[in-house]
């Protein structure tokens, strides 16, 4: 196996584009190395992104944030301004694995691993994040929900990589939150996950919202009906009930070792409600 550690994005793209075999991207490695150790992956080459300086940066951009693909969860958690703007996105990323894993795992890696249960993804989707994709034909910007296409599959073409996740401007009265259900308290994988982001106007009416669910479909799903249930309301009990019902209705999960269809459908609604209450509070809304 070949190990490549380019120092520029161009070199990384060129390595990915030119390699003829099974060539994998290594950011934190918290998925890739586990797969390799458990005989689920046997790549011919690994391209490590961590030597590329720009990929290690959290940079203000257009009122929002550009987060390099090799930034770890722990680095995000220690970035006070980022946390102030997007606490839901950061707390979702900080739920991945353990303290040790947090030192390595990345949000871009979590996205490109394309698991429907990825913790950071519903939060990013709710936040309206976009992925900056660099490839042999240049750079494009893609809504994050369009990157995973199925479990373990992405829309990235050969030679392409995500070099940064871009979070939009938060605005004055915005708040986001992510909650997941796991049978334990940590070191686990979401049975259902829900990200909610909303904006309130001066009198506390919700003017914009995005709601995303994880682990209830082959990819993380956006639930516009759930957002509609909040927009124009004061995010009161009736709105929360409507949100909950919309999320349960949108959930199309499977029965598996981690949960049943009935359980996931019900809990999707429960988590949406709880996450919306937190997001509202963070947006400065009345309890």
């Amino acid at each position: 196996m070949q190990y490549l550690a380019p120092t520029t994005v161009e070199e990384a793209v060129s390595a990915l584009a030119s390699h003829s075999g099974d060539c994998r991207i290594l950011a934190g490695g918290t998925d890739l190395l586990v797969r390799m150790r458990s005989d689920m992956a046997d790549p011919d080459a690994v391209v490590d992104l961590k030597r590329i300086d720009a990929m290690k940066q959290i940079t203000p951009e257009d009122g929002g944030w550009r987060i390099g693909a090799a930034v770890s969860g722990a680095e995000m958690g220690e970035h006070a301004d980022l946390v102030a703007d997007w606490p839901g996105v950061v707390e979702a990323t900080n739920l991945i694995g353990s303290t040790q894993i947090q030192g390595r795992c990345t949000m871009a890696g979590n996205l490109c691993n394309a698991s429907p249960a990825a913790d950071s993804v519903p939060a990013m989707v709710a936040a309206g994040a976009v992925a900056r994709v660099v490839g042999p034909d240049g750079t494009r910007v893609v809504p994050v929900e369009e990157i995973p296409t199925a479990p373990g599959r992405t829309s990235l073409e050969k030679g392409e990589l995500v070099d940064a996740i871009i979070l939009p401007e938060r605005g004055a009265r915005g708040g986001d939150a992510y909650l997941r259900f796991i049978p334990r308290t940590e070191m686990d994988i979401a049975v259902v996950g829900c990200g909610v982001s909303l904006t309130l106007d001066d009198d506390g009416t919700c003017t914009a919202a995005r709601v995303a669910l994880g682990a209830v479909a082959p990819t993380v799903i956006v639930v516009p009906e759930a957002a509609d249930a909040l927009i124009g309301t004061k995010v009161d009990d009736a709105a929360l009930d409507a949100l909950s019902a919309a999320c349960s209705a949108a959930a199309k999960p499977i029965d598996d070792k981690r949960g049943t269809v009935d359980f996931r459908v019900h809990v999707a609604g429960v988590l949406a409600k709880r996450a919306a209450v937190i997001a509202k509070k963070r947006a400065g809304g009345a309890a």
Partner: protein, 750 residues
């Protein structure tokens, strides 16, 4: 000399026993220096990997190993054809078949071939080149399904004569215990309940995967280093399988990262020896976690019917249980222990249990901490709890009313001597936990548990060094702190400081036969042998002092670590300390040692009562453990830290079993959760600190009153947690694990 030789309990003032001394293995373990199974290497060593069946049940028509053998770097491949068949010992023949499949693969993960190669990568590549021609057979993994008349059959002709005609050949044995007249007793009850409970198979979850290093020479001598609970068992089993004389196979036990019963048999060792024999090179094998879960020995899953009658004042009039355990693909599920222990905590006039041992297409079960008892206690303690609450009676009072005590004829036969059940129940009733307020969606559960405890073959040798330090050699791998405990008991008996004693776990060439570290036997049996070995050494030291002083041996007594002249005619001599005597040993007859070999029988049964508070999230079914207290009789806690650790460890494993741990098989009979992500043992943040209360009701059969404590602690938690969750949820749960989907479904069915 004037020494008390009695092995029976004698009241005494302890100086070392009962203190919290520093553990001797602590520094090496926290610095990473301790050598576990995978830490040993040898010159010229090969690495071996195992090819495992991907099918739950399949006939093996042929195995073509030629391509694997031709791969550069591969030294040998073994299959069952490389082993001699064992025809006169079914027990060991089953172990061999489990280590390497014969004409059938009996479960997902069953070993079918193994490769020894220069490197792990080559061994892994070689596995892909082995071609196994399978005929798939129908399979069964559920115990009730396996008992159905039309169930797929694993073995023909292995049914024990205790099984009535007409049952599935998967039912291998029937057990029955009890006394009195069930129907007559039930007729006297104010209420009779009849319930069925189910528990899933769980794994011990020890942190260290199995590993060994084998070296077998052409001269018929062999050495084996391995992680095990009993290297003497490994020696004897491997010698039988390999056709070796026991004395020619030396086994050394590594440090052990947990066992809990799962390391009381062999999985890799005969395969490593066979590969070493074939290659003439040392061969190392290390399991992955997935192999541990697929192909070692989880405990049985169970299905249990209980029928209990109670009067409205809480007296049990009759109790019946029928227990069905599947123990994987071979005979020997722990249903006999389950049937014996189910009602052991109670003094019952009419009691009966019937147990069925059933085979399924799952890995061969191994012991798991009080094997068979937790599931039986879960069923019985759930039913008693439901009856008590139905009559609005205090569940502790009901248990006290029916509690077994000294003189009770146990449901499994014997009459109990002094036991500690009542003491644990009274301690529970008096504890602030019992009356602490509970909030919304919270519940409190209690349950009792019993374990037999065992003795078994034991050897200890205690040597006095020339500078007067003491070394103790025992033959039991130290899982629960036995090196510290043995050093403490030796120091206590000799009257010297703990720091003056070091205990080691000796290899199989150094001592006689030792039973494995199981059955909560070590602190009891090895402790007894250590005390007796120390007494033998004291006798010898008194003799040496008598020689120096020129007086009779019986005019010398041992006190506070020194020989003293005793009696009127002994004369006035300054005491000779152990160090003084050691210094002149060479001139008074040579080195001084004491040893003791025994199969002690007075192990003394053990009881516990557990109390747990839980909170149920009504919207998700998630269960949180809020508070947990263990009350258990230790006889005498030699090292209280270790005793508390055993109480806490058993409680935590029981919580895992109750809440989220389970073997999940798909319709294809393949294990779906062979990893610690989806086989969910509790993590630290799932748990409160487990509080412990040590009761000390001395065991009459041990000189210091010690009882085993290692296993009883896993018996009550399944029921205690279930009783607590049932109260918090407001609905009775009768299946484990109580994972969130199950609890939510129960809440929605209210």
């Amino acid at each position: 000399m004037a020494l008390d030789d009695k092995q029976q309990y004698q009241t005494r003032e302890f100086k070392v026993v009962g203190t919290r001394v520093k553990r001797p293995d602590g520094v090496d373990k926290v610095t990473g220096k301790a050598r576990f199974g995978a830490d040993m290497s040898a010159p010229g060593m090969l690495i071996a990997r195992v090819l495992r069946s991907p099918h739950a049940h399949a006939r093996i028509n042929s195995i073509d190993t030629s391509a694997a053998e031709a791969l550069p770097g591969v030294h040998a491949v073994v299959t069952r054809a490389d082993f001699n068949e064992i025809t006169d010992d079914d027990f060991t023949a089953d172990i061999l078949d489990n280590c390497m499949a014969g004409d059938k693969a009996l479960y997902d993960g069953h070993a079918v071939a193994a490769v020894a190669a220069n490197s792990p990568a080559v061994a892994k590549a070689a596995l892909k080149l082995i071609k196994v021609d399978y005929d798939l057979l129908p399979h069964v993994t559920d115990v009730d399904a396996a008992m159905a008349k039309d169930a797929p059959v694993l073995h023909e002709g292995r049914t024990n004569e205790s099984v009535p005609d007409g049952m599935s050949p998967n039912v291998l044995a029937r057990y029955e215990f009890g006394h009195g007249d069930i129907e007559a007793g039930l007729a006297k009850a104010d209420r009779v309940i009849e319930r069925t409970y189910k528990t899933e198979a769980t794994h011990q979850g020890y942190i260290e995967p199995h590993a060994c290093l084998a070296s077998m020479g052409p001269d018929g001598q062999a050495d084996l280093w391995c992680c095990t609970q009993g290297h003497y068992m490994v020696r004897n089993t491997c010698a039988t399988i390999m056709g070796l004389e026991q004395g020619q196979l030396r086994v050394t036990a590594s440090e052990i990262g947990g066992g809990f019963g799962g390391k009381t048999t062999v999985f890799l060792e005969p395969v490593a020896l066979a590969l070493s024999k074939k290659t003439g090179r040392p061969v190392k094998m290390v399991m992955s976690r997935s192999e541990v879960l697929r192909a070692t020995g989880p405990t049985a899953s169970s299905s249990i019917d209980v029928r209990i009658g109670m009067t409205k004042d809480g007296r049990i009039t009759a109790a019946f249980a029928e227990l069905r355990y599947q123990g994987g693909a071979y005979p020997g599920s722990p249903v006999e222990f389950g049937s014996m222990s189910a009602f052991a905590p109670y003094d019952l006039e009419n009691v009966k249990t019937v147990g069925w041992d059933v085979v399924t297409n799952r890995p061969k079960q191994a012991a798991y901490r009080a094997p068979g008892a937790p599931m039986a206690a879960y069923a019985v303690e759930s039913a008693i709890d439901e009856l008590a609450k139905g009559f609005d009676l205090d569940p502790l009072a009901v248990r006290l009313k029916n509690a077994a005590r000294e003189g009770t004829k146990a449901s499994y036969g014997p009459t109990f001597p002094a036991i500690g059940l009542e003491a644990t129940l009274r301690a529970a009733k008096d504890h602030p936990h019992w009356t602490a307020p509970l909030g919304e969606n919270q519940g409190r559960g209690v349950a009792c548990g019993f374990w037999f405890n065992f003795g078994g073959d034991t050897c200890v040798t205690l040597n006095i060094t020339p500078d007067g330090t003491v070394t103790v050699s025992e033959g039991n791998p130290d899982i629960g702190g036995s090196r510290a405990s043995m050093s403490m008991m030796a120091a206590e008996e000799l009257g010297i400081p703990y720091e003056q004693v070091r205990t080691i776990v000796a290899d199989t060439g150094s001592l006689g036969q030792n039973e494995v570290t199981d059955g909560s036997r070590v602190t009891f049996a090895v402790g007894l042998a250590t005390i007796e070995a120390a007494r033998a050494a004291k006798r010898e030291m008194c003799k040496r002092a008598a020689m120096v002083w020129g007086i009779e041996e019986d005019a010398v007594k041992w006190e506070d670590g020194a020989a003293h002249p005793a009696g009127e005619n002994a004369g006035k001599h300054p005491p000779m300390t152990l160090k003084d005597i050691a210094a002149v040993a060479s001139n008074t007859g040579g080195p001084i040692a004491g040893h003791h070999e025994a199969n002690p029988e007075g192990a003394g049964v053990s009881f516990a009562t557990h109390m747990v508070d839980t909170e149920v999230d009504p919207d998700t079914g998630a269960v949180k453990i809020l508070r947990y207290t263990v009350f258990q009789d230790a006889g005498k806690a030699v090292h209280p830290d270790y005793v508390e650790g055993q109480f806490q460890g058993g409680a935590v494993q029981g919580i895992g079993w109750a809440l989220n741990e389970e073997y999940i098989y798909g319709d294809d009979g393949v294990l779906q959760n062979a990893g610690f992500l989806d086989y969910r043992i509790p993590v630290a943040s799932d748990l409160p600190m487990i509080d412990t209360v040590i009761l000390e009701i001395p065991n009459p059969g041990h000189p210091y009153g010690v009882r085993g404590v290692g296993e009883t602690s896993i018996v009550p938690p399944l029921a205690a947690v279930s009783n607590s969750v049932s109260e918090a949820a407001g609905v009775r749960l009768t299946q484990l694990p109580m994972s969130p989907p199950k609890v939510l479904s129960a809440l929605h069915s209210k």
